[in-house]
């Protein structure tokens, strides 16, 4: 049974909000129950922005993911410091190693360092780092398919979607690739 609780955090402008929305949208497209909840208010100015996403087979009660997250995605160092403890034991921590040179402290979770900005730049746009992270997450959790993300893309980005879709899907795949390679490397 699917019951993913994701927390996604970074600086304003790193696209953590839309990462979350894409995920929720794709979940909805796949007929799952979903919620998305942002942090809001003046704290966003210059500070850390984050959102909570729940994707589940049954109706979602609490949309809040402050602890027991199945996955935490952190895009910068302050986010790692703030949210590392939110990962449930055995859960997943994805960190953007392009901007975070610190390793996580926790040993009871699965962590992956993904150089998201670098990989996104390779794909042609550093701002797609969020898609890299999303790709990585989906590659591991498989909670929704990349196809659903592509469908969701039009919803979240409206008129801008068409122009950006290819680039972003490339980034998504690059993220998936990266994490799978790493897993293989580990397994090897």
């Amino acid at each position: 049974m699917c019951n993913e609780r994701i927390l996604c955090a970074g600086f304003g402008g790193q696209g953590v909000m839309s990462l979350g929305q894409l995920l929720a949208y794709a979940g909805m497209i796949e007929n799952k129950h979903v919620t998305w909840l942002p942090s809001y208010g003046p704290e966003m100015r210059g500070g850390t922005a984050y959102c909570n996403i729940v994707v589940s087979d049954s109706p979602v009660g609490s949309p809040i993911v402050t602890h027991n997250a199945t996955c935490v995605i952190v895009m910068n160092l302050p986010s790692l410091l703030k949210f590392e403890q939110s990962v449930a034991p055995g859960g997943l921590l994805l960190l953007n190693s392009s901007l975070i040179d610190k390793a996580p402290d926790r040993q009871d979770i699965h962590s992956h360092a993904i150089p998201a900005n670098d990989l996104a730049t390779e794909c042609g746009n550093g701002r797609a780092a969020n898609m890299v992270m999303l790709g990585a997450y989906l590659a591991i959790s498989k909670v929704v398919s990349p196809g659903s993300i592509a469908l969701a893309f039009a919803k979240v980005f409206g008129s801008k979607a068409e122009r950006l879709l290819d680039l972003n899907m490339a980034a998504l795949h690059r993220g998936a690739e990266a994490v799978l390679q790493a897993e293989q490397a580990m397994a090897a």
Partner: protein
């Protein structure tokens, strides 16, 4: 070398990289250093041309975060620095 008329210091860890000081400076002493990011996540202003500083204080007047200190040198002191 021209005589040193002023000196400007920026508390880089508290700078928000807004750049207001850079356009206020008549001598283009200050620039935003896009290569560094401080703890707060901003690229701070740095003193790129220390020798050009007139000690006019314009940069500090415009800094919303009050992180600029400006000193001006009297004639004597100026000589000493040469």
């Amino acid at each position: 070398m021209a005589e040193l008329r002023g000196r400007v210091r920026i508390a880089a860890d508290r700078c928000k990289g807004c750049g207001l000081c850079t356009i206020a400076c008549p001598e283009e002493v200050l620039v935003i250093d896009h290569r560094t990011v401080n703890l707060k996540g901003y690229s701070p202003a740095v003193v790129a041309q220390p020798s050009g500083c007139l000690g006019c204080g314009n940069c500090a007047l415009m800094c919303p975060d009050s992180v600029i200190t400006v000193e001006r040198f009297g004639k004597q002191r100026r000589a000493a620095h040469v």
